[in-house]
């Protein structure tokens, strides 16, 4: 438990008062379903504001703790995703506060704008994902392997280059090419589907 997390302390006190009077119900099945279904979207929401996936995951873990602890506060039938986004936004702000201001890549204004736009676009995410699946299948075997290696947890472009014994820039080029072609492929698929 993080001592410096203001929310955490609050929760402790809440729980402690509650235990005396009532036994808190475990989260409902519905909540559990909603929770698991929203994980990926939540990650992407955070990632748009904090573009490093490792950092984004860290923030997501913190967000999940809060979500779980505040599960009783969620009103069934309301927008779960929006609710979790609110919590995530707060965690993102806290994360930025913890890190030094001059190390920030983007301004607060950027973060706000991006957050606003991402939470609007939830519908298309699943379409994009499906399209990506199809596009991945079309890559040449060696391209797919490269992407898989690159996105293996703990790896990045540099580490993969070292493992393969290839010059770093060449690997960056290849990854860029593959990502761009996946990007274009996904866009094409979505456009084609929309056009029909």
């Amino acid at each position: 438990m993080r001592a410096e997390s203001g929310d955490g302390l609050q929760i402790v006190s809440e729980t402690q008062t509650n235990t005396d009077s009532t036994l808190r119900q475990p989260p409902s099945d519905e909540f559990i379903q909603l929770f698991s279904r929203s994980q990926r979207r939540l990650f992407l929401y955070i990632l748009a504001q904090v573009p490093n996936p490792v950092d984004a995951e860290e923030i997501q873990q913190e967000t999940n703790i809060v979500i779980w602890n505040k599960s009783h506060k969620f009103q069934s039938g309301t927008n779960f995703y929006a609710w979790t986004c609110q919590i995530a936004t707060y965690e993102v702000m806290k994360y930025r506060d913890r890190n030094r201001r001059d190390k920030h890549l983007f301004s607060d204004e950027f973060i706000k704008r991006v957050a606003q736009e991402t939470s609007n676009d939830a519908e298309r995410l699943e379409d994009r994902r499906k399209a990506l699946i199809g596009c991945l299948g079309k890559l040449r075997a060696q391209d797919r392997e490269l992407i898989q290696s690159r996105y293996t947890p703990g790896e990045n472009g540099k580490s993969v280059a070292v493992k393969l014994g290839r010059p770093i820039n060449s690997v960056y080029q290849s990854l860029g090419r593959i990502r761009r072609s996946l990007f274009e492929c996904v866009n094409r698929r979505l456009t084609a589907e929309a056009g029909q």
Binding site: T15, T19, L23, L47, P51, R140, N156, R180
Partner: protein, 714 residues
Amino acid sequence: MNLENGQFQELSDLLEALCEDRIKPQQAQRLELLVLENDNALHFYLNYLDLHGTLHWDTALGDEADSKYPTVISTCSVGESQGDDCASIAADSKQIVESFSSNRRNPSRWLKIAMVIVACSLILAVGIQQYSKSRDNSVATIPKAGSNSSSNNDEVKITEEGNRPKPNRPLVFPKQPPPHTTNPKTPDIVKNNDSDNGNEKARSDPNNRSSDSIVAWVNDELSQSWHNVGVRPSETASDEEWARRLYMDIVGHLPPLDELTDFLADRSSNKREILIEQLLDQPGYIRNSTTNWTNLLVGRSDSLNANRAALQKYLRECFAENRPWNVIVDDFVSAEGDNIKNGETNFLLAHLNNEAVPATAITAQVFLCVQIQCTQCHDHPFYDSKQNEFWEFNSFFQQAEVVRSAKTKLVNERVGGPTFYENRQGTVFAATPKYAGVAVKPDPDVDLRQKLADLLLAGEKPQVAVAMVNRMWGHFFGHSFTPQVDDMGPHRRPSHPKILDRLAREFVDSGYDVKRLIRWICNTDAYQLSSRFNETNLEDNPHIGCDPLFSRVYMKSMTAEQLYDSLIIATGAHNVSATKWTEAEHQRQDWLQQFVVAFRTDENDEVTSFEGTLTQALMMMNGDLVEEALSGSRGTFLHKVARSRDSDVDKIKQLCLAALSREPSRQEIQVFRKILRDRISSRPDGTSIQIASVEGLQDVLWAYLNSSEFILIP
């Protein structure tokens, strides 16, 4: 994304730097500026990070990614035959369910998180032992509950029994579900294809084996025939030549530079087979097939009653889902409805003028590869086909009416009776519907066109199948089994009757599977050959009248559409912006119109003035797109090549590969290097080296595009 090319490139570079954690502060500032000032840039940013994030998330979760989230739905249940995919999907789904419960190599990420949370709450919660124990249980059972219910909730169509395809290798997923058909005759189709589907599933594994055996048989037949006439086949085409040919034949444009270099660098022994598969999967295949068939069915010029765009939409659906050819022919012949919702009506709508004479002739030409228009007025001069046969065929179309109100519709009038015609002496005759010896009573209650469609497709080896094989073979090899692909009467004996016969029967047996037919053709040994002659096969030159031996692949000329598409790709103009399909179609169609002159004849003939010369094409090319791409301004391919730190030789190489799909010869390199140097050394005062070098490269690219080699398909 409607961004300008310069911005697109810059954003792309910045995002790449961001993804690999090597973005500098001033770059980040620049990125922020671009994103905030332009909504399109903002979406670019979001979508790119979405891609990055999804790759990260799904890889990190490994095999379990799919089980939590509903994946690609196969619409096998709709009944459309999807061949191999259906079978493997059904097989795999059982594996998924099993593999998930047994695969605990990587505890899922959020299970870890949930455990952390549980741990926290255990620490936090004082005196709620009971509560935490029950919580533990619910957490532990989450995976199962989560996956089942999430799949049920998210996608109504997925059922438990597993329309959930998933191979064991992560990140390799099966194809997308096909778009829905708007065909009003769905019940019939489902009925037809259920039996096909059943057969497909039964032969799922043997499918590949039987394809191999068919190809092997053709290889044997051909090599026997070469031996018999004492001819040696030409050498195998180089990878460069072959790739260029395959791309042209399947997707209708030359290979983009990055795809080409990948193919050339690939060392696998079966890379050609793989490339065929990949190209059949590209949207280019759909687009190219749609273009070719649209031109065949309704020509290149616009017609009064036919809606070209609707026809193309229908064809795109067909090729996207690999609809069986017999279903497509049935659709076209028996089409009914309005010309927008029922795209297939547009074929007949374009030709029902003049008492359906053009419809009769063109139906026979396109689907049966038989010329019957001369017999409209008299018996065929060359073979036994008589005038009455033409009108008997025509008689099937008598119920078809074009209704023009708010929408244009093709309807069936409930009329019946004979069709009257005159011979040249003025004697009037009566004809009633008859095809291939089968007479149909022209009752008002009988749907004559549906009957025709049934007759056209009846039997083990209908002419429809033979015609399609002849046409496809001709498309790939540059010459069919007959001197003219669509003149297959009894007066034209096919050059290889056994091969034609076997392929036609196999085509029917496969359920009229067009992609499979293409695979058979493209995987033959003969299709791998070069177009160059050797000393022994100089007579293998069907274009000057000899019988084809297929001991070499015959050179083809680019069509106008292929030229347009190839120019766009060779100059990198397609990287400028991802325009919508319909918009790109409009642009290309506009450009093509200047070559088409429609002569109004009774048979709806059309002549194109496209002679296939590049200069002509470029002179009339008024597209901003290509002009800009050739201009070498920021963001274009030319600019990228100029800007790179590669040597002159490498730059010339890139341009040659992009335009001609091959490496430059030593002589070319010499000549072009000199041109580049001269450009720089003799540049006018005030012109930077950068600009002069771009101009030099423009010269090089232009020279390549102007060469006759560019316009020929090896």
